[in-house]
């Protein structure tokens, strides 16, 4: 068993090896992360008062990004299913990158919860037996379990497959397949549970809809493939790693269908809230049209809607979808559109008006934006390092060498 320590040593050496532009990118991400850490230290010392949040709008930019990135993490399953269940060789080729993205995205999501806590040093209260874990009652307790479980599953599967490939072997065991199947269902569960965190509140009419779970899944299956396509495009441009066209086509098709369903759900919600409009529709009215003269989210949500409509139009026209340039445009528009719609566009208006009917607005502060930028950079850094390792192993440049003698 000399292979395992050597694998880790080789992995770290590989992550720290690269051309100047690789180092430039890594240093940029580290710098942005450190920048965020400074803002976070200030937030810790002063309190969450440095954010734009209030008793009225008690969750903001952090939780919005949390909800969005859980979706990105869940979308890795879209590569896992075709790769391991249908044995698509082309997809198998990129499935490890998808799992790397899942690991990075779930870390990002967890960090966004951590920075939102008023008392992060008490996070140990979560730990079962040592603390008091309100399971199964609290949906956040569920989320802690599913997110940590998902992180472990994906990290373990990724490390296991890489380690085998490192030694020129293929994973065969049934135990491994059992974990892959668990990871698939787990992926759906993380985003469903995250939707339940919001939809379980009857006093928040905008969230309290059974469509919220399906909306979360459908929008995740659009934003996730969009990000994967962009990432694979970047990787095939700057590395020797070739990504087959059929894999991209499959992802683009999934993206198209998911975005269509997601937009259909948006339409269904708009109809239900606006036809015979009652108090139930107040948050949606605030979001799209404004309430009592206030409506800072209006331009954002309309921009999101327009972006998603343009994206879906591009994707539905076959020649355009098959053209990489147009496909990238559609992917960027989808990613941004869903980020607005499922992030700020969903979390913030859920609090407006408040349960006592007060209209009080929220906008993120520089602190929130800086900390978020730091967390995004951290996620990109994790993905960059993992991708560096994955590509080296998959290209065969990183292989186990039996020690001499």
């Amino acid at each position: 068993m000399m292979a395992l320590p050597q694998f880790f040593a080789d992995a770290i050496r590989e992550m720290l090896r690269g051309p100047r532009r690789y180092w430039g990118w890594v240093i940029l991400l580290v710098a942005l992360f450190v920048h965020g850490v400074f803002y976070y230290i200030n937030q810790m010392q002063t309190g969450l008062v440095v954010t734009g949040m209030s008793d009225q709008v008690s969750w903001g930019f952090y939780i919005s990004n949390f909800a969005f990135f859980v979706g990105i993490a869940a979308a890795a399953v879209l590569l896992v299913i075709p790769a391991y269940i249908f044995h698509r060789k082309d997809i198998k080729h990129v499935v490890l990158l998808g799992e790397g993205m899942a690991v990075a995205a779930v870390l990002v999501a967890m960090l966004f919860v951590l920075v939102d806590l008023g008392r992060p040093e008490r996070a140990w209260h979560f730990i079962p037996f040592i603390g008091r874990f309100n399971f199964p009652n609290s949906i956040l307790a569920w989320d802690v379990i599913v997110l940590n479980g998902y992180l472990l599953l994906n990290a373990a599967i990724l490390a296991y497959v890489l380690f085998l490939h490192y030694r020129d072997r293929e994973p065969q065991s049934t135990v491994y397949m059992v974990f892959v199947v668990i990871a698939m269902f787990w992926a759906i569960s993380i985003h469903t549970v995250t939707a339940f965190m919001f939809s379980s509140n009857p006093s928040r009419a905008m969230w309290h809809t059974s469509l919220l779970g399906p909306r979360f899944i459908s929008s995740a299956f659009a934003s996730g493939p969009a990000l994967i396509i962009i990432t694979l495009g970047v990787i095939s441009n700057i590395t020797r790693y070739r990504i087959s066209r059929t894999a991209i086509d499959t992802l683009a098709l999934i993206l198209t269908i998911a975005l269509q369903i997601s937009l259909f759900f948006v339409g269904v919600e708009l109809f239900t809230d606006f036809y015979n409009e009652g108090q139930h529709g107040a948050s949606i009215r605030y979001l799209f049209l404004g309430l009592e003269g206030l409506g800072s989210l209006r331009p954002w949500i309309w921009a999101a809607l327009v972006m998603n409509l343009i994206a879906v139009t591009i994707l539905m026209i076959h020649p355009l979808r098959r053209n990489m340039k147009w496909l990238y445009v559609a992917c960027v528009l989808t990613f941004l559109g869903i980020w607005i719609e499922k992030g700020m566009g969903l979390i913030v208006p859920g609090f407006i008006p408040t349960t006592l009917g007060e209209v009080f607005e929220y906008s993120p502060t520089v602190t929130e934006l800086s900390i978020a930028l730091g967390i995004w950079s951290f996620g990109m850094l994790v993905f960059t390092l993992l991708a560096k390792l994955i590509i080296a192993v998959e290209l065969g440049t990183l292989r186990y060498k039996k020690p001499e003698g």
Binding site: N42, Q45, T46, G47, L48, V49, V50, T51, G52, M53, S54, D55, Q56, V57, S58, W59, V113, D116, L117, G118, R119, P120, R122, A123, H125, G131, R132, F133, N134, N137, S138, I139, L140, A141, M197, F198, S200, N201, P202, S203, Q279, E292, G293, L294, G350, F351, P353, T354, T355, L356, G357, E358, V359, F360, E361, Y362, S363, T365, V366, L369
Partner: protein, 317 residues
């Protein structure tokens, strides 16, 4: 980026000081800049505490897990912390619930004139952060003819109250029999006591604000900053689950003045009301005034359809 914006467009521009005081109640966010400017006050290595107290605070167990000795130590630590931050010798008690008592509240909205005496009495009794301007009670100015909360004015400030064509409805924690906040809390930092009061272990709360999303009555408030308590305003008679000084980063709310009511006194808001609009008592006592109200008046509860079973009733003469 701009900070949280102004709330309602229909406010009158009178009585600046009081109005801004009231408005600030929920809008702690607007103080971000002012607070940021203050240098990290007395940030000695243990936050001004002794190392022993800092560790004691950090490792303090959940209220329900603590042994009697640990609880005694916790209460003593709270008293020491209060002495250090406010200069006042407070007494932090742990009066248990009275057997056979479940508290309930009824408000006569035809007697409520919107004076907000209850709000201010509550602030003083419960050691609410003065610069964060937190308030547990919100009196809503309602339009005659409907009970639509979205048409209520939270920040009414005319020369005199009551205003013509308005009625007033105070809202605070309703100590639900089926509290959604308790269900939502991931670490059981909030629970319902045998006397029906929903309490918070401020030392156990992690500040995730799940409870604030869950509460249908906007009863839960968060300490966005360190709550400031000037020496001259400290109420030294406190309860662990009630009005002891709180810390930054945790939620708090009305607890029916647990420090008073468990000793047979009325909550501060009930005592302060000059109109006798507030009727507080033991729901299990058939002779109590609250039972009389429930049995003889046409009462209603807010958002009953949500199934939270609030223990606060409204009625009119």
């Amino acid at each position: 980026m701009s900070k949280t914006k102004k709330t309602r467009s229909d406010e009158r521009e009178t009585g600046i000081s009081r109005r801004s005081f009231i408005k600030g109640a929920g809008a702690a966010g607007s103080m971000a800049i002012a607070v940021t400017a203050v240098p990290a006050a007395s940030a000695a290595s243990w936050g001004g505490q002794t190392m022993k107290d800092a560790f004691g605070d950090f490792f303090q167990d959940h209220y329900k897990n603590m042994t009697p000795t640990e609880l005694e130590q916790a209460l003593a630590r709270i008293e020491r912390n209060a002495k250090r931050t406010t200069g006042v010798d407070i007494k932090c008690e742990n009066t248990p619930p009275i057997p056979g008592v479940v508290f309930g509240y009824a408000i006569n909205i035809s007697k409520c004139k919107g004076y907000r005496d209850c709000v201010y009495a509550c602030v003083e009794e419960n050691n609410l952060g003065r610069d964060s301007q937190m308030q547990y009670i919100r009196v809503l100015e309602m339009e005659q003819g409907n009970r639509n909360l979205e048409k209520s004015d939270h920040y009414y400030d005319p020369e005199t109250v009551p205003q013509k064509d308005k009625y007033y409805m105070p809202v605070q924690c309703m100590q639900c029999e089926n509290p959604p906040c308790v269900k939502a809390c991931p670490v059981e930092a909030t629970w319902k006591e045998p006397d029906g009061i929903v309490v918070i272990d401020y030392n156990w709360c992690i500040g995730c604000r799940m409870c604030m999303g869950a509460c249908p009555y906007w009863a839960r408030h968060f300490n966005w900053t360190e709550p400031e308590l000037p020496t001259e305003v400290v109420n030294p008679v406190t309860h662990y689950l009630g009005n002891r000084p709180r810390m930054r980063g945790v939620t708090e709310k009305c607890h029916f003045c647990v420090q008073r009511t468990r000793k047979g006194r009325l909550p501060a808001c009930a005592e302060a009301c000059p109109n006798g609009a507030r009727i507080f008592g033991n729901l299990l006592d058939p002779q109590s005034e609250i039972r009389y109200v429930l049995e003889n008046k046409d009462v209603f509860r807010l958002k009953e359809e949500l199934g939270t079973e609030p223990k606060m009733w409204y009625f009119s003469d």
